[in-house]
């Protein structure tokens, strides 16, 4: 079973103080550590697991500058066989444009399954995978937490909200967006990454793909990025127990929890 897995390099922001860039539409990335998007990491592991049980190949694809080859080498170290980087140059990208670029490259490849992460941890859009599926004319499912190939079909599990999963059968070839927790991504050692440097990695400039100007025009635009209201330490709630309790209940309800 040949699997294509789309990955993205994103800045790790868990404990980082984000600074808004001068234009006000993005963030300063200098001090941030770049890594593979968490969801994509699970997608790569899933692709490699499928290869290990079913045979076949895994191809990892990313769109980005040469630094983003790190995530491809990581995917190769995990067990992918080939990697493709599409260099977008200075082009502005949104989910729509990314899906068009990916579709153009993937359309000429051999595959039974395309995997992406549910979303990327930078723009948190979660649209590229399913747009790509529609562009390629593939069956699709989002937020997948289980894949079991069964001949021309795959039995899949989709995580719904509120502790419920949906099991269904889907025709191959298919595109699935992979949810975190579907597997336990293997550890990738530094040496493993260095050794993966020997595997095939192709670079394709986006200009070579012959995409129309319309396909390369973003459909959405970030006008402004802004910080949520700042908090410094806990806001202490004083008073007797009863009034404190009333205040707490109010806060909990305000945060969207019904009690």
């Amino acid at each position: 079973m040949d699997v294509i897995v789309c990955v993205k390099q994103v800045p790790e922001v868990i404990d980082a103080d984000l600074k808004i860039s001068r234009e006000g539409t993005g963030i300063e990335k200098e001090d941030l550590v770049m890594h593979i998007n968490d969801w994509d990491n699970y997608a790569v592991e899933e692709a490699v697991c499928i290869k290990e049980t079913q045979g076949g190949t895994v191809t990892a694809i990313t769109i980005g500058d040469d630094e983003s080859e790190d995530v491809l080498r990581r995917a190769l170290a995990m067990g992918a066989d080939k990697a493709i980087r599409i260099d977008p140059g200075e082009r502005e990208l949104d989910g729509f444009v990314i899906s068009k670029i990916l579709a153009k490259v993937i359309k000429d490849l051999e595959y039974h399954l395309v995997l992406t992460g549910v979303q990327a941890d930078d723009d948190n859009s979660g649209m590229v995978g399913i747009m790509l599926a529609e562009t390629l004319g593939l069956s699709h499912a989002a937020v997948v937490t289980g894949v079991e190939p069964e001949g021309d079909l795959a039995r899949i599990r989709v995580e719904l909200e509120g502790g419920m999963d949906e099991v269904s059968r889907i025709q191959l070839p298919s595109l699935l967006t992979i949810q975190t927790g579907i597997n336990e991504p293997r550890y990738v050692s530094i040496m493993g990454i260095r050794k993966a440097g020997k595997k095939e990695l192709t670079v394709i400039p986006v200009a070579n793909l012959g995409l129309s100007e319309d396909d390369l025009t973003p459909r959405t635009r970030i006008e402004e990025v802004f910080l949520p209201p700042e908090t410094t330490g806990a806001e202490m709630i004083e008073g007797d127990a009863a009034s404190v309790a009333a205040e707490l209940i109010k806060i909990i309800k305000e945060k969207g929890v019904s009690i």
């Binding site: 790790e12 868990i14 103080d17 550590v33 293997r186 550890y187 050692s189 530094i190 260095r194």
Partner: protein, 671 residues
Amino acid sequence: MVTPYRVSYWSIESVWIFYVLAALAVAVFVFGVISHVSVWSRGARRQGIGFSGQGIFNLFLDGLLGRRIFSGDVAAGTMHLLILWGFLGLFAGTVLISADYWVYHFLKGPVYIGYSICLEFFGLMLAIGLVWALIRRYLQRVTRLERRIEDLIVPVWLLVVVLSGFLVEGVRLSAQRPEWGGWSFIGHVISLFWSDPRGALSIYPYVWWSHAILSLGLVAAIPFCKLFHVLAAPLSIYMEDRPDLPMPAETVTGDEEVFSSRQMIFFDACTRCGRCVEVCPSAGAGEPFSPREFIAAVREDLLLRHHPLKGLDWFSRWSDPRKAEKPDLDPQKVWHCTTCRACLEVCPVYVATPKVIERARSRVVEDGTQVPLLLSQTLEKLYKYNNPWEASKKNRAKWSQDLEISDLTKTGEEDPLCYFVGCTTALDTRAQDLARSFARILKHAGVPFGTLGKNEPCCGDIARRVGEDGLFEEQMESCLALFGRNNIRRVVTSSPHCFHTFRNEYPTFQALRPPDEKVHFDVRHYTQVIGELVSEGSIRFEKRLNIKVTYHDPCYLGRHNRVYDEPRKVIRSIPGIELVEMSHNRANSLCCGGGGGRMWQQDLDSKIKMSEIRIREAAETGAEIVITACPLCLIMLEDARKTASLEDTLRVMDLNELVVMALGLRSEGGE
């Protein structure tokens, strides 16, 4: 008077059968030995045996005199000595009688009488030793000893060989009745059993052949049972003092063994004596780990794959066929070891389990699929942020905010004293007080120093301990580059772990580099620096502290680097203070459970934590404060103090905090 001597093969017919059997036994023996050597040759690095004076010395002390077998267990030492010397004596006797027969007939007259007496003694020693061994194992039931089938067969076999030897002698003396027979005092007593020499003569060939076959069988069996340690153990002891050459991660390919030949010899030297199990803190806390089982599993795995007979653990394979398929080498089991070195400290044959663990871990890490989640998260942080704690680099110098400490990466001083704070000390809120206290002490003593500020990297200790060798090498490179760039030649560390890594790991790796690329620097642990300041009088304690304290030896300061006295000297130099020792101290100190990467894998803890066992021992001394000299110990013991409900009676302090308190400098520590 007739000159006393013994006729070889007296009254034995078809001696050629004996020679055929002997040749067969020797062939089997040689095959067995070569099989082991062939396994050793699969080791990742073949190290020449070469001459080593220290090795010979160790061989004499630990081999012939059984230094380590005696230590802590005089009974075992005496028992082993009786068996060893008895065995060697009889072996020498056999060599001499062969030489006498084949080369030059010299065993005659008084020489023969002396020879006979000696052999009687050696035989007696061996027999007593063996009976004693069986008593210890089966009647006294010494806890650390096992009772596997092999443990019974081997000593009983040996005993039967010895006793049958005496029987042969007795029967022969009874049949021959030589006038010098009384000198062979045991044989003589046995000979009295037959009143008629003809009776003895009629059974003599049977007794002789039985003894011969049993003895030859034993020779043949040596390489296939625990007796192989008679060859492997001396080799292991002899090779102990030579450090393994580093194994750069780049040179390790997937199909090769991760263990060195030397380590494989260690495995074969193990006799399962169980001293390691007794001292292992992980086993002691009831965790599913024991150095003995681990080494056995690694050895069995190697034998299964490389030994011509596919392993030697026939009995357990016969009793459990699944074992034949896959030895019990569970990748999860490699993570329990804290690399505290307690096992190596007591191992009579110097099996370096901590190093073996590190190699075994490297195999699991390179494979990647079985790395525990907590560990892989820690390694990711180490790689991305150069520390095991936070997904950020920005807080590394935060502890020093109000202390005005110069940043050596900015000041460009010549030959500055670089205080290498270390990840845990810099980032853990409890351990930060160690750094603040040490900085205050240095300032108080007027010692100029600086730190690497925000740019301080991880020394690589954790990566090295958990087998992520590629990461370790990258971190070492960046550390060395930073030291080189800032002319740092003198380093003092908070953590014994950084200290150990700089002092022992870096030089072995640097040994592989061309001389002009080496970065030389001198590293000390802070206890050594404070000890020196106290000695030279730069620090003087005037205030009396009327408290009773105990000192916990951090493994990487004590056992790994033999720094036992400096911290104690500093404590004792404080007037009024009373230092009491815990029952486990110095070389047999008990690990807090934080080393070897365990700090970041606390889900491996069993119900009883190592740190709790240690803190209870500290409480038993009646001390008010436990002093330690390692940030990991500090955190582990501080935590254990709370979970063991000792918060009201016992405090945990770093030595720095104690010194700050004794000097009356401002401190926020301890509580």
